[in-house]
Symmetry: C2
DNA sequence: TGCAAACTTAACCATATAGTTAAATTTGAC
DNA sequence: GTCAAATTTAACTATATGGTTAAGTTTGCA
């Protein structure tokens, strides 16, 4: 078999959008072919089955997104700078890929087992960051907080607004998509401020 | 037609679990019948179609969960007490219904339009709470924060761990379900502490 | 005991969809 | 211009699934 890179990429992009919007069961091979501007026969010529396509896509999502988290966590700056950098770059990542959090979330629900394996295969690891937190606690820089709690807080504050975008827009902001974007823009700095104040020791 | 309340409820419970686990497209009527301990013919005798069943269930989810948020928001206590009460009762709600956040999240992704309508039909409203926040800012009790940002923070911190349970358990805690439960147990008080410290004005 | 409602059985229909196939056509490199 | 690879066409298969039907069985109550 011989493949055209452009076609192959168009298929992957089309499939990504389809799976993001409808989940695995809701996605249709015909719809993916249509989005890619090709026909079903060629789609199957490039990618054997729906399942294979899906696995490739979700694997890519994790290969891109999980390391992006972990790499910032592992930078050798002080805790507060790490938090500032992480929240900004993580939120920016999802401004550019707003459907990914929902996609991953859906996958979490439907195949938690498969997900866990994928995570472990990326070699993702939060030890360095946990140690940095513990050290900051010992040095009296921040309040006594479980590292796990702090990490969950950070990720929750960055990710959840994207996962729940319609609820945030309609119920909380009661505005339009523009208002949502503005809220997110502010969060790039506000989240870090909020977190740091929430843990910083008061002398 | 005449219905048995017990059977009707068993169907609803079975369908709820099925939809929670697999989403609308992934759910199977046969599987719902099996879970309810009945056959497909009877299932359709009680509930005309898959779509109807789903709508009933998602409507119930919203009728139960959205007011629960809003009612605490509207209590006439001071801001800090409201936050403490809300986070505790909201997290407890999801300890008892751990799959609901994922279910709602999935629905957000697949039918954002339908969701928005449902929210509006519950009469849910965050004005009272927003005003309480604004008042607290004016009184110099808390830092100058957009009410919308604070509400998003509160809900993110309560809900997200449930939505991302496997990731939290495997990647962040690197432990078991028991460890997750313990983390959540601590969050019932820790989240409020964290939020309040994050906004409270330092004199 | 009799009767009606609740429930089962099992076969059936219609449709959607993943995946296949083979022949025809287009395209681009040599 | 030739040839092989890329792509299309269009018909097809197999299967899963939502939903229906009709006849029979169980159950509880009057």
């Amino acid at each position: 078999m011989n493949y055209n890179k452009d076609t192959s990429n168009r298929i992957l992009e089309a499939a990504t959008r389809e799976f993001e919007e409808k989940g695995y069961s809701g996605a249709r091979m015909q719809s993916i072919a249509d989005r890619a501007g090709i026909n079903k026969a060629l789609l199957h010529y490039y990618y054997k089955s729906k399942d294979m396509l899906f696995q490739i896509i979700i694997q890519k999502a994790f290969e891109v997104f999980i390391p992006r988290i972990v790499s910032v966590f592992e930078e050798e700056t002080d805790l507060f700078t790490t938090i500032e950098k992480f929240t900004r770059s993580y939120i920016e990542l999802y401004v550019q890929n707003p459907r990914v959090p929902g996609f991953i979330t859906q996958e979490i629900n439907n195949h938690p087992d498969r997900l866990v394996q994928l995570i472990q295969s990326t070699g993702a690891n939060t030890e360095t960051f946990k140690n940095k937190i513990k050290k900051s606690v010992k040095e009296g820089l921040i309040d006594d907080i479980e590292p796990e709690q702090l990490i969950v807080n950070i990720i929750s504050l960055c990710l959840f607004p994207f996962v729940a975008k319609p609820i945030v827009t309609e119920l909380i902001i009661q505005g339009t998509e523009k208002d949502f974007d503005k809220l997110i823009e502010n969060r790039k700095t506000e989240v870090a401020k909020f977190i740091i104040k929430g843990i910083k020791k008061i002398n």
